[in-house]
Symmetry: D2
Subunit: 228 residues, 4 copies
């Protein structure tokens, strides 16, 4: 059930709660990711819904991320997402503090600590350069920069506001030289990806640009090809 | 993947975030439930963690409940539990407003409405007779009465405070003659179950009494036998 | 500092976080309420922001409501609104579960219980007839029906969707014959008020219709006159 | 209503929701703070409950802090604490992210930005050195370090775990040379204060050590004297 090391450059596809990527459709999308990954030698990972983690993990070889994990320990926590549970389901990492699932500052730190103990890769989302710098102090493996006004817009942050990316990269690098930086929000094409990499990031976090594409396989190929 | 109609009397086992009932251990516990159900002709259902819903649903025939579902519709809701997703994973019903996952009043109503549209059975938890009466107005399929001070205590509410149960049953029945009423909190033995049924409920919601039992299979059998 | 009994018909003005009703402007608006109340023999109450409760209470004679109170007891609860604190500031009652400040079902019950102990009048907001019926079981003094899609719209629920009001009144009355029912959302004119009373309610909860009016005094007079 | 510049060393007293510091008792405690401040030439500030801010601000000359402010702008936000409202009530600053009122990371940043626009001093609480370093990136005026396990314990963090303070100071200073650092949690005596200052902080955040003291005036004097 090991899905390999997550080495940048990375294309991470967030399946959100889209019906176009739920259940068997999540598996199908992950297969496209697998094929693109093999074809271009680039890591392509997916973040399905919690109920689909094991299914995707068992039926494909791509790294699988949880979209959210609660910072609880095993015990009486009805309705929460336990790290040990999603780990057993085969995940490699977790998204933390996505703008649609924001967390208290202390919970972000707790989640990173728990993930580290379980050898899960953390991708902490930040919607401003200030938050990106702040979370860099908490020691995550990766930071994804996602200005919320561009999420789902089809306008790539790397093109619309390149200075947000360079400013954020610069602020993060003052605090951490090692953390991997992903560029999110509005990424839809290989051109967006190239621009994101040129601006100093090591990959992209993408959602509707792939999931809502008429041809999901082609959309993923386009992004992966640009990462070479 | 249909797991049959949920007819009372019902033993519903909440697996919470217990490691003793995570992943393959959730399946094992569900198998015990399946066997007890067949042996005594009583419905025994389980509520595993979200990541285990499909696994348990595919490998056993017991009715499977989600511990929590968010009231979102398909779309951009990273890190939420979509009803359509857990439905595709094979569940029959959902727990709503458990005392470890309390919801705003309006969200309880929204969740019941969404579940009804998807033909999912709702079990709404209430920790006082007042809340039980209140949620009865919202039209759930079942109400589980769980005084929080007895949860996980090993002291059955049906024995420690029988008047809570009779009072709650009475208040609920003034508003709804049809809703199924479950007795929760501290249930560990068949004797507790018999007392709960005698007080006017149609089943039990149990967690640590089964999951933490030295012999889970025997614990489930004891509860199911008492329901005949 | 006693501000008298709150007898229906009632016009309750929610000042929200509007700058037009903050600080000294809250006092000014409360004076208009006082004058209209005296002129027409109708109870007109105001719900200022927490920091303005004492100021309004000391400088006018209208009943003053808190917009929200936390269900905490005295102690270590930094940043919360303690019932004893706002009581000492001179309030007569509290708004509970406004659609802009929704509460868990259990918290609504706790808040009503605490308020009753402190002899504070509770006005619980409900945005559907189902929630209105549900909260009726919790024993509040008043219920305000506010369909969220009409809040701040300038379209009175009593005119746009009179069946929501009659349906809600009917559902509430099956559970409680005594609770006072207020009609909220979109109320701006005396005509709206008359219609609301005609449909079986005992008053109105209003906000922008008064606070954002060019002539706040005239707007309040219009509402109070219609209650006679 | 100007309460003067807030220059370290600073003793900041959080009144929480203690009845011993509610309403007129908040004013009394603030008078003791005023006297100690004058006697020792040290800034002593208080953070009363929201409903008491104006009262304390009007009747004393000490700097007054809000215990919490919501990051909303003027408008339809029933039951929230608007910065403009508490500013008009006479405050000089705000506590942000107290461990009893934790905030999402993005909300901390928004609150700091709003406070800066309104010329309000921000004291952001951090319960670990990691969070302290993280919030330093967000540009607050002050950071208060409060390990939650020592809050209200009567055991001063400066004595029980001095390495937490020195480690935190060191991590903060790598990011900001200017932010004022306060030491919180368990501070009860002048000796605790001296130790805190010796470890590199510029003041203390204290609550029960003063509010619950048999002689509040003497307790404040003891802390202020140690700051000289």
């Amino acid at each position: 059930m090991s899905h390999g090391k997550i080495a940048p450059p990375l294309v991470l596809i967030n399946l959100k709660c889209y019906l176009e990527a739920t259940g068997t459709k999540a598996v199908q999308l992950a297969r496209y990711a697998e094929q693109a990954s093999a074809k271009f030698g680039v890591t392509v990972a997916v973040a399905p819904q919690t109920a689909d983690l094991r299914l995707v993990s068992q039926q494909t070889k791509v790294p699988v991320f949880a979209q959210h994990v609660d910072s609880v320990k095993p015990g009486s926590h009805t309705g929460h997402v336990l790290a040990e549970s999603v780990l057993e389901a085969g995940i490699s990492g977790i998204l933390v503090n996505h703008s649609e699932r924001r967390l208290e500052a202390g919970i972000i730190e707790d989640t990173i600590t728990r993930a580290r103990d379980l050898k899960l890769t953390t991708v902490v989302c930040a919607n401003t350069s200030g938050i990106a710098a702040a979370v860099a102090s908490l020691g995550p493996d990766m930071i994804a920069v996602e200005p919320p006004e561009l999420i789902g817009s089809g306008v790539a942050v790397s093109k619309a506001k390149p200075e947000i990316i360079t400013d954020t990269v610069s602020k993060i690098r003052r605090i951490s030289s090692q953390v991997t930086i992903l560029c999110g929000a509005g990424i839809t094409s290989g051109e967006d990806v190239k621009e994101a990499l040129r601006l100093g990031t090591q990959g992209v976090l993408v959602a509707s640009g792939v999931v809502k594409a008429k041809d999901q396989a082609a959309a993923i190929e386009d992004l992966a090809r640009a990462c070479r």
